[in-house]
């Protein structure tokens, strides 16, 4: 919403600089995006001049040489406009003035004649659209002339209108908004009243306490025609639930033409293009009152019959912008006997457009259902100044405000006669809303005392009717333009509080401590720990998009039926590559690896801690967010387990002494073991295939026996698809990890009283036997005394033939005694038997 400051000030002038006004508005709830200037950057150098004489230019047919009185001295100005004539009062830019387009005016020689300034057209001033000739300020016949009838106190007042006749040399700014400060407001959806100049003036009044002029619509026009409006028009509303009120007036003998300069300049400053006086009046009245209105050429409405109804599916109409549009059955139309004439509350149609030949005007001012207008405007992809107001739900009371002001302007500015009467179709109109404010509640909610008199004064300035009920209660009657926003006591408290200069007066306190204790949940703490471990082991944390491309499933070679193909799809994605929710962290990690390696990184160790989105299924073990279970009465629509993913790729770390390892399966597994070790979660990896992993170098992660993800080297074909040489990584479900984690629950074990006994053994087993099975067999045979069996070496070679030799360090310990050599020998024999049972032997 653009609010020209001089226009607003004609209703309420706080006497503030525009920047200060903007700041105070912003601090009381009306956001100001910027303070702009319409027209010239400054009014300096723009004056009123009187043309004294006009002579043809000696060397140019189209130019005239004019003598001007522009104050002080007589000036010679060369002018190219055909309409310049002696005696005219004109707008002049003197050398040094900066025009709206940024040109700085200089004395210039035009075909040998020195021109000491410039006589201006509307376009050159940026306040109108007439570029054909200069603006004549005092010519009653000219479009630029002042209106013959005085708008008086009813609010048509414009700068200079009430003052004395302008004289040459006066600053042009006294007469026209040469350099107009304009507030650009970002109006919130609850305040359609601030989509009106008078509404903003009321805010200025409420803030500054400067006087507020009576509303410009407070006086109605006098009918001048004969008969009755029903002789010219009829209205039938077939969908009253979507049209609370529909009012019509009819005007005869309308003289369509350009609007006067003051009107055009106000519209221009507010960002509206002037069209003709009738259309300009509808726009002007909308800007003043906040109530949109629509003028029909009555000739375009056969017999003046209007029908307000829902469109039939697929019905079509060409709107004023020349586009043919097709409607669904929820769109409201204003139709004539032959078909749609305008889209209700959004845009008019061509058949009844007001044109230069229009003589009879039907003025419609209606109240539409906001939800319906918003829906239709979105489904049509068509927003207008009108729909932007209607969608915020206007009050039916506003219609007559607009009718009254527009009627007077049509009579004053278009010489129209108003046919007596108003067609006014409506269901029962709502009674004014009354809301009670208990003054004590203000302090209870705001935390600051605001007394009853102050509350009352603030509400009255905002237009509320007030009735005191004892010392402690106010009954406020809500003005119609605020009806949708203020319905409860809390809303009144907001009105009172927002005018309290909160930035200066509100104390800063803290809620009573009570018996609350803040903190992270155990799950959150463990997740942080896990992230820290991955960081400490070299991982750079990434955050990749939660949405991905549907083709990722193919890229990862996921077979039909794989759960990860069962994606949550976005109905309205921004692009196809962000159109489904991820079911694995692998895609984001691979993309980030490729991104970095292709930009010069030699190696990457990336990890992500985030959710995947699964369509179905039980929450993964572990309650709370890691497992995807959230509080609330209604379960969430999809499953969102939290995962940790890691990907290593690129060249090994180089160094002058010991180079780092290549990023293979075991490096990834080392990190996984360290992670689970820190969290105290028991980890197992068993051989298993994943479509996107190397079939011989991949496995399934088990945490405390529960499946919890994959680990492995990337399948070479997948690596190739992501331009990677080789890569390894894992994806781990946090739910099982958190459930199994012993972190924080560890118990002290005595290690000093009875020291352990260590013994190294070498076990020769067949090549295909997994090391974990060997270790498990050894541990089982070692029984309670065997505390740990750690594999520390792997040997293949002649000495062990076809098999492999694993070296294990066995740690025996008992908590209550020193172990004897006999006890250990006994265990060693048991281990030997167990190893032989699985096809191996102890090497001596």
């Amino acid at each position: 919403m653009k609010v020209p400051v001089s226009w607003m000030s004609s209703y309420c002038d706080p006497g503030w600089e525009p920047e200060h006004l903007a700041e105070r508005l912003a601090m009381t709830g009306t956001e100001v995006e910027r303070v702009g200037i319409v027209g010239a950057p400054s009014a300096e150098g723009f004056v009123v001049g009187r043309v004294l004489a006009v002579e043809p230019h000696p060397d140019a047919d189209r130019l005239s040489v004019c003598k001007l009185d522009a104050g002080e001295v007589e000036r010679t100005i060369v002018c190219g406009a055909p309409n310049v004539a002696a005696g005219q009062l004109v707008a002049v830019a003197l050398p040094g003035a900066v025009l709206p387009d940024g040109t700085k005016l200089k004395q210039a020689k035009l075909r040998g004649v020195v021109s000491d300034g410039m006589i201006l057209s509307e376009t050159e001033l940026g306040i109108g659209d007439d570029a054909d000739g200069i603006m004549v300020l005092d010519d009653p016949a000219s479009s630029s002339g002042q209106p013959s009838t005085s708008p008086g106190s009813a609010g048509l007042a414009r700068p200079g209108a009430a003052g004395p006749e302008p004289t040459p040399g006066d600053s042009l700014a006294e007469l026209l908004p040469v350099s107009e400060p304009v507030l650009e407001l970002a109006v919130t959806t609850n305040r359609p009243d601030c989509l009106s100049i008078y509404g903003v003036a009321r805010e200025a009044h409420a803030i500054s306490e400067a006087p507020l002029a009576d509303p410009p619509w407070s006086e109605d026009a006098e009918a001048g025609g004969e008969g009755s409006v029903s002789d010219h028009a009829s209205v039938s509303v077939e969908a009253p639930e979507l049209c609370q009120r529909f009012t019509v007036r009819v005007f005869l003998d309308v003289e369509v033409g350009p609007s006067p300069a003051w009107l055009k300049s106000r519209l221009m400053a507010a960002g509206q293009r002037p069209i003709n006086n009738v259309v300009d009046i509808t726009n002007y009245v909308m800007l003043v009152t906040g109530q949109p209105l629509h003028a029909f050429d009555l000739e375009g409405v056969p017999d003046g019959e209007l029908v307000v109804r829902r469109a039939s599916e697929g019905e079509k109409m060409t709107t004023l912008d020349g586009v043919e549009r097709s409607f669904d059955s929820e769109t409201m139309l204003v139709c004539d006997r032959e078909g749609p004439s305008s889209i209700a509350g959004i845009m008019g149609g061509q058949t009844s457009e007001v044109s230069d030949s229009t003589k009879r005007v039907l003025l419609e001012v209606a109240t539409w259902d906001g939800v319906n207008i918003l829906r239709s405007s979105r489904s049509l992809g068509l927003r207008s100044e009108a729909s932007a107001r209607f969608e915020k739900q206007l009050h039916p009371e506003l219609t007559m405000r607009a009718q009254q002001l527009a009627s007077r302007m049509l009579i004053d500015l278009c010489g129209a006669r108003m046919v007596p009467g108003t067609i006014d179709v409506h269901e029962e109109l709502p009674e004014p809303r009354k809301v009670t404010l208990r003054v004590a509640r203000v302090k209870a909610l705001v935390g600051m005392e605001i007394d009853a008199d102050t509350c009352a004064a603030r509400l009255e300035r905002l237009g509320f009717g007030l009735e005191r009920r004892g010392e402690e209660e106010l009954v406020a009657t809500v003005p119609p333009e605020r009806d949708g926003d203020v319905t409860r006591e809390a809303d009144l408290i907001e009105e009172v509080a927002r005018l309290a200069d909160l930035d200066r007066t509100l104390p800063a306190t803290l809620p009573a401590a009570g018996n609350r204790v803040g903190g992270l949940t155990r799950e959150q703490g463990l997740r942080r720990l896990a992230e820290d471990v991955l960081r400490d082991l070299g991982g750079d944390e990434i955050i990749s998009w939660s949405f991905t491309e549907p083709g990722l499933a193919d890229g990862l070679r996921l077979p039909e039926g794989d759960r990860r193909r069962d994606v949550i799809a976005i109905a309205n994605p921004l692009s196809a590559d962000q159109s489904v929710m991820r079911t694995t962290l692998a895609g984001g990690l691979l993309d980030a690896a490729r991104y970095n390696l292709s930009r010069g990184a030699e190696r990457v160790a990336l990890f992500e801690s985030g959710r995947v989105y699964l369509r179905d299924g039980e929450p993964v073990v572990g309650s709370g967010p890691p497992g995807g279970e959230f509080s609330g009465r209604r379960p969430p629509p999809v499953l969102e387990p939290h995962r940790l993913g890691l990907l290593l790729s690129g060249a090994p770390q180089r160094a002058w002494r010991d180079a780092g390892p290549a990023p293979d399966f075991f490096v990834a597994k080392g990190i996984l073991e360290a992670l689970c070790g820190q969290l105290g979660a028991e980890l197992q990896v068993e051989p298993a295939e994943e479509p996107f992993l190397h079939p011989g170098k991949s496995g399934r992660i088990l945490i405390g026996e529960l499946p919890a993800g994959w680990i492995g080297e990337l399948h070479p074909l997948v690596a190739r698809a992501w331009d990677l040489d080789a890569a390894a990584g894992f994806e781990l479900d946090m739910g099982p990890v958190v459930t199994a984690a012993a972190y924080g629950e560890e118990r002290y074990e005595d290690f000093t009283t009875y020291p352990p006994v260590n013994e190294d053994v070498a076990v020769v087993v067949p090549e295909g036997l997994p090391a974990a099975e060997v270790r498990a067999a050894v541990l089982e045979a070692g029984g309670a005394l065997l505390h740990e069996a750690e594999i520390f070496d792997l040997y293949r070679g002649k000495q062990v033939g076809e098999g492999k030799s694993l070296a294990l360090r066995l740690t025996y310990r008992a908590s209550d005694r020193t172990l004897t050599e006999e006890e250990i020998a006994e265990r060693r024999d048991a281990v030997r038997v167990a190893v032989e049972k699985i096809g191996g032997s102890l090497r001596e």
């Binding site: 601090m27 009381t28 956001e31 919130t188 959806t189 979105r378 209870a444 909610l445 705001v446 935390g447 809390a490 509080a497 927002r498 909160l502 930035d503 104390p507 800063a508 306190t509 803290l510 809620p511 401590a513 609350r516 204790v517 803040g518 903190g519 942080r528 960081r535 070299g538 750079d540 944390e541 990434i542 955050i543 990749s544 939660s546 949550i568 976005i570 109905a571 929710m581 991104y595 970095n596 930009r599 990184a601 990457v604 801690s609 985030g610 179905d616 967010p625 509080s631 609330g632 009465r633 209604r634 379960p635 969430p636 629509p637 999809v638 969102e640 770390q653 160094a655 002058w656 002494r657």
Partner: protein
Amino acid sequence: MVERIAEIRAEAEAAIAEASSTAELGELRVRFLGRGAELTLILRGIAELPAEQRGAVGKSGNQARGALEKLITDRGEELDASELERSVSEERVDVTLPGAPSPAVGHLHLITRTRRRIEDTMVGLGYRVMEGPEVELDHYNFTALNHPPGHPARMAQDSFYVAPGSVSAAALESAAVSLDEAVVLRTHTSPMQTRAMEAQGPPIFIVIPGKVYRRDSDATHSPMFHQVEGLAVGEGITLADLQGTLTEMLRAIFGEGREARMRPHYFPFTEPSVEFDVSCYRCEGGGKLADGSRCPLCKGVGWIEVGGAGMVDPNVFGFVEENGYPPDTTQGFAFGFGIERIAMLRHDVPDLRRFFDNDVRMLEQF
């Protein structure tokens, strides 16, 4: 004999004093104290001496031996130390070579660090951290936050909708919502307000960090970003308490001495509603830098916009009334803001999109 012992001792003492290496000292030990050394032989031959000589010779011989042994040991330690000094002074490494690299330590994402900092601040103020679903029912994202269907504020947050049929019918059934109820990617962290109040009666003091989604993409909008929501509901909580809480929080994030300022605004789920700003930490809120130029960070305003807040709207309590939140007597405040914005302000990150490029040249800066 006793004289001879004295001679030997004197000779040995001189030789030991002159010894210049531990090797030489070893030779002296053999020469004077070894098996064939004269002194050794004398002591061994004592038995064969006349009885009246035995005592004197034995005594002086043993004294000499003890003295020499001590001398050799002491001198040996001396020589050993000086030899070590000498050899150490000959060992040299190039101290300018880089150290043998320990495994590189990585980096948490700046968003994670910023989120944790905010969480920790709020934990210190007595808040618990909760998390909610990102794929959310329309009911929680809008309706229960006082955005009735068709409400214009719904459109202000351009939502991603989940394709019908993408969510299993069973899931919707268990949520007791109709199959045609919209499912959205949550547009804010606020839906968790209702979920949390459904799960727990008052008082409630929680923060809710997490990912949110809006259908918008440019240098200042990302379709996915992170928010933190705060909710405090309890007896007698006021707008002034919100002012105090925001001040404490913003000071913890932006430094002591910062101020919070509230500007009245509109949100459907708070009443009164405000936007809140922090006083500019570059120009100390004055709008001008030391050299008098306009502060580029706050653009001369002295304040930087941070987020939205307000007193929880009674209509929101209406949705959780049965869990101990009667709308006419319950009071509380809520606030929310973007984590990216905080991180951008604190660390001069110029473009929102940098957070999701995952470029290690950025990640490794933090």
